[in-house]
Amino acid sequence: MQHWMEWAVAFFLLLGGSFVLIGSIGLVRMPDFFMRLHGPTKATTLGMGGILLGSIFYFSLSPDSISVHELLITLFLLITAPVSAHMLIKTALHHRLQAIERTQGEQELKRGQAHASKEGNRSGNTDN
């Protein structure tokens, strides 16, 4: 393996690792549920992208193979991350989870919660 490619692999692994770490730090540091969601949805996605780039470089350098599976992982991650974030935050609205006090736009939150419970009543007739 060429010398500079080792540097590229190391760079992407470290970059990815630090972003994943930052995402997890956000999960611990942020004061309420809604703010905690931002770390895992964003920083972690970029971190995974970095690690997967490192992986593509590393495995493509062995003499007789290239590796592009990682592109698929990136694709599926980009599709699923916003969906799971949306489901989590919608559940939070449904449970009327409180945002910390300085959150602006409280009437919008209330409106969202009211809408969430209305929707739940319409679709969930079996469980009430």
Partner: protein, 178 residues
């Protein structure tokens, strides 16, 4: 806006292309057998699946869609760096907020793409889209819809709404011509 496919045997050409590419990526090979089987799958799967879907607007400007994807990729990188800085900075200086964005888009597919983009990019997570339209009859007109987003650090509400509308919603309107 076009809701019905141009060819009945190829209802979603771009999705077929995507399936073909995914098949080749999964096999990591360009051998003739994989090319052939990939074509068969890419034609067959959308053909049997299409009739189960709700009719949604179809992509009319593929090159614009490609540009939109590249732009979103670039924005993901910059936005993630910004969020990383916000996370590591002082927490008490953040101004979290809920913002309601009025949408010009009305159909579920473009709104889903917009909500996903908003979740991935500028310090926002999409929280809700309302009113929901599942209970409407197919020929009823669609209502004005709203996107509720949570912002990690709100600086200017009007500016944020304008950014989302111009940078992400306007290209989507062009792509789907709706």
């Amino acid at each position: 806006m076009r809701m019905t496919p141009r060819f009945s045997w190829l209802p979603t050409p771009y999705r077929s292309l995507l399936l073909f590419v995914i098949w080749l990526l999964l096999n990591q090979s360009l051998a003739p057998i994989h090319l052939l089987f990939g074509v068969v799958l890419a034609l067959f799967i959308p053909y049997i699946c299409y009739r189960f879907r709700d009719p949604q607007p179809l992509v009319e400007r593929p090159l614009l869609a490609l540009r939109y994807i590249l732009r979103v990729f670039a924005d993901i990188v910059t936005a993630n760096a910004q969020v990383a800085v916000l996370i590591l900075g002082p927490v008490h200086k953040l101004h979290p907020a809920f913002v309601r964005v009025p949408l010009d888009l009305q159909h579920n597919l473009p709104i889903t793409i917009l909500a996903g983009t908003v979740s991935m990019t500028p310090g926002t997570v999409s929280a809700d889209i309302y009113p929901c339209t599942e209970h409407l009859a197919p020929d009823e007109p669609l209502p004005q819809r709203w996107l509720l987003v949570h912002v990690l650090n709100l600086e200017d509400e009007a500016e944020l709404i304008a950014t989302i509308k111009q940078r992400y919603e306007a290209p989507l309107k062009e792509i789907f011509k709706c």
